[in-house]
């Protein structure tokens, strides 16, 4: 039948040259020639992340909110600090795009207000006679775009600058709630990021030292971490915030609150970094780098850090919502940011008692945005965490 079959075990005939060549070619085929072969870590992570629909949507939502925060001045139709006594607790004026069953240019209705004789409160009804056309890029009060360019073009608003439309109603001082929310986005999103950034600095430094140096230093840092973790955060936050002098300028308060929020928050990061360092120290490829003659610095920055940067980003993303909620809660209680700073927590101070919520339920709307932000960060973090280790 065939040649090879009758040979004793292991005896292989010498191969003709062309056969040997074909075998070599076969070997080349082995390594998958797909795009995956040359895909870097980040590309693999992105491919994985893409499969996570909720995370992608969350990324888009957060991206949109950050745009709102950056261009807050242009997006807010009115100055968020202007009070109007004739619009206190004015209800939202919805924007209509359908009139008599047909699509039409967006418009809103004006408000008619009366004073209730008994309670002396202002009551509002929508005035169906007064139709206010809406417009894009309308002229409003002047402001500085990104703090640089003087302009008075606002993204949208009533076409006629003399009329006012508050799409989400007004607060107890008659300020436009929507404009205030747009500006609050700026503070609340940035304070989350800033606080996490400080935590990151502290966590990476201390966790890195702990994991890399090890021994007694590690032990001391670990005890500190355990201790901080054992203290309930909110009462401590409250205590520290209460210590911020009332006389400080708003910017200082902002930074002080950021610091308060991050002082307790770095322990999680330190744990992650330490754990990664400890695990990484034992990795064969790290040992291989050492044997190759790589110095400590190269080992840390070229081999170890790139291996867990993605994990750090993922766990950072998951801690941001906690900081945002922290700020909101503190400010809500009156211990955090205060007027004239506008954050979601400050806005929600107005909704502190059930009476206010009962008369002006729209004051709760900022809380819903907080919920959306927190959920979006959580989904995003989940997606990032799943994608963080593309080699698992």
């Amino acid at each position: 039948m065939d040649v090879a079959r009758n040979l004793p075990n292991g005896m292989q005939p010498a191969l003709p040259a062309d056969v040997a060549e074909e075998l070599a070619a076969l070997e080349r085929e082995d390594a998958s020639g797909r795009a995956v072969a040359t895909a870097s870590q980040w590309k693999l992570m992105w491919w994985r992340f893409r499969k996570h629909t909720l995370a992608k949507v969350s990324l888009a939502v957060l991206g949109f909110l950050f745009l709102v925060a950056i261009f807050a001045d242009a997006i807010a139709p009115y100055d968020p600090t202007v009070t109007q006594s004739n619009r206190t607790y004015a209800p939202p004026q919805p924007i209509y795009i359908i009139e008599n069953g047909r699509l039409t240019w967006p418009f809103a209705l004006g408000l008619k207000s009366t004073i209730d004789a008994e309670s002396l409160r202002r009551m509002y009804v929508l005035d169906h006679e007064q139709r206010i056309d809406m417009g894009l890029f309308v002229q409003g009060e002047p402001y500085r775009l990104l703090g640089l360019f003087e302009t008075n073009t606002r993204l949208f608003g009533a076409s006629n600058g003399a009329q006012q439309v508050s799409v989400l109603g007004s607060d107890r001082l008659g300020r436009d709630l929507f404009s205030r929310m747009v500006h609050a986005t700026r503070i609340s999103l940035s304070i989350g990021l800033a606080a996490v950034f400080v935590s990151l600095l502290l966590g990476v430094t201390l966790g890195g030292i702990s994991g890399y140096v090890g021994g007694r230093v590690d032990m001391v840092i670990q005890r500190v971490v355990e201790f901080i973790d054992a203290i309930p955060s909110l009462p401590l936050w409250m205590g520290l915030s209460a210590a911020i002098p009332l006389t400080w300028p708003p910017l200082w308060v902002y930074f002080a609150i950021t610091l308060v929020l991050s002082l307790l928050g770095w322990t999680g990061m330190a744990r992650v970094v330490r754990g990664r360092f400890l695990a990484m120290r034992e990795e064969d490829f790290v040992m291989a780098a050492r044997v190759s003659g790589s110095g400590e610095r190269r080992i840390i920055f070229r081999h170890m850090l790139p291996s867990f940067v993605s994990h750090i980003i993922a766990s950072l993303t998951l801690t941001i919502p906690g900081r945002i909620l922290g700020e909101t809660s503190l400010s809500f209680l009156g211990l955090g940011l205060k007027e004239p700073i506008i954050s979601y927590g400050v806005l929600l101070q107005d909704a502190q008692n059930i009476r206010a919520v009962a008369t002006a339920p729209w004051l709760i709307v900022p809380a819903l945005v907080v919920v959306v932000i927190v959920i979006a960060y959580n989904f995003l973090g989940d997606g990032l965490r799943d994608a963080a280790d593309p080699y698992a």
Partner: protein, 357 residues
């Protein structure tokens, strides 16, 4: 022959993964006989472990048994197809542990870390037999003694992490054999152990098999272990059995080029030092990129030497090459080079065995 215990016919277990379909087991035929040891041998990724799990239907999603039959010969004339049973149903659960038990590669990971050895042994026994705790304990301690664990009364209450690797594997064996099953499936039972411990465990398995007269399916990649333990051998490559026969057939008269290559490439203790081994070219293909035709054709020297082009395009049938010896290779097909597609269809039919021992 009435010594047939388990008959596996055209078994197919597929994994439905995000990145594609992996046909981990793709049409396997096997006969497992009472009191004998069948070794299933193959390199990583050949599907031998999945095949073993399929026998007990403990493959979990995304894996799924998609076709074939596993006939269990409970007694003369009493034959059931296990695949007719629901994977989670009571009949299948009554089969597992009682009729067929399984031991795994990594004894530390395969034992629950938070329960004592005794608790885990008794668990299986009390599930299948109505006995009191005290009785179960007595039986379990007897079993621990039988697998060679010193001071079994004390070890009954030990946790897995308090035992050495070899002792853990003995405890695993005690756990599997407590119900005196007819079939023991051992998935690489000694791979994680040292050579001297491996020898102890292999000897123990042989002794217990003779004593309990059970059939053993031994999953391994080590041809040395196969030669020591097996009566019959099935060689797997990429989800298929490419050759099967008696242990002598496989070692002294291998008929499939893969088996021959494997035998030539294993290092042996005897012989001159500083010699050269005959390697099989290339590597086992990635399961997603399974070659068409004969799955081995990309690495087969004999195909290239014999210029058999059909190997690339058409899957070879299982051909009988001896009394109880079959190989899945075109080289042995009587039509040789030219073959009609009808023959290919014939090949996918279940093989018929001739005679017996």
């Amino acid at each position: 022959m009435n010594d047939l215990l388990l008959e596996v016919e055209n078994l197919q277990t597929h994994f439905f993964l995000d990145d594609g379909l992996v046909k981990a087991v793709d049409g396997v035929h096997l006969h497992i006989r009472r009191g004998r040891t069948l070794a299933v041998v193959g390199e990583s990724g050949c599907g031998k472990s999945i095949m073993a799990r399929s026998l007990l239907q403990i493959v979990t999603p995304p894996g799924k048994i998609v076709g074939g039959a596993i006939r269990y010969h409970r007694g003369p004339g009493d034959v059931v197809n296990l695949l007719d049973y629901d994977r989670k149903g009571p009949e299948m659960r009554a089969f597992r542990g009682r009729e067929a038990a399984m031991i795994f590669q990594e004894p530390m990971a395969s034992l629950s870390p938070v329960y004592t050895i005794g608790n885990q042994i008794v668990e299986s026994f009390r599930l299948h037999f109505k006995v009191s705790k005290a009785e179960a304990r007595t039986v379990a301690i007897e079993m621990l003694r039988k697998v060679g664990i010193p001071r079994p009364e004390a070890r009954f209450d030990a946790y897995p992490h308090q035992l050495s690797g070899g002792m853990r594997q003995r405890a695993m064996i005690a756990m599997a054999l407590i119900c005196q099953p007819n079939l023991l499936i051992a998935d690489e039972p000694t791979t994680a152990l040292d050579v001297t411990t491996q020898a102890q465990i292999l000897e123990l398995l042989q002794k217990l098999q003779a004593e309990l007269e059970m059939a053993v399916v031994m999953i391994t990649h080590d041809l040395g272990v196969v030669a020591e333990m097996a009566d019959d051998v099935a060689v797997m490559y990429l989800g298929q059995v490419v050759e099967q026969g008696s242990v002598d057939d496989i070692f002294y008269n291998p008929q499939h080029p893969y088996t021959r290559g494997l035998l030539a490439s294993i290092p042996r203790l005897e012989g001159a030092t500083r010699a050269r081994l005959a390697a099989i070219p290339g590597t086992v293909p990635h399961p997603y990129a399974r070659p068409g035709g004969c799955p081995f054709h990309t690495r087969c020297r004999e195909r290239i030497i014999n210029r058999l082009d059909m190997c690339k395009t058409e899957a070879p049938p299982l051909v009988q090459v001896g009394a109880e010896h079959h190989a899945r290779c075109w080289l042995h097909h009587n039509q040789g080079v030219e073959l009609s597609s009808e023959a290919v269809q014939l090949a996918s039919l279940p093989l018929t065995t001739t005679g017996g021992h």
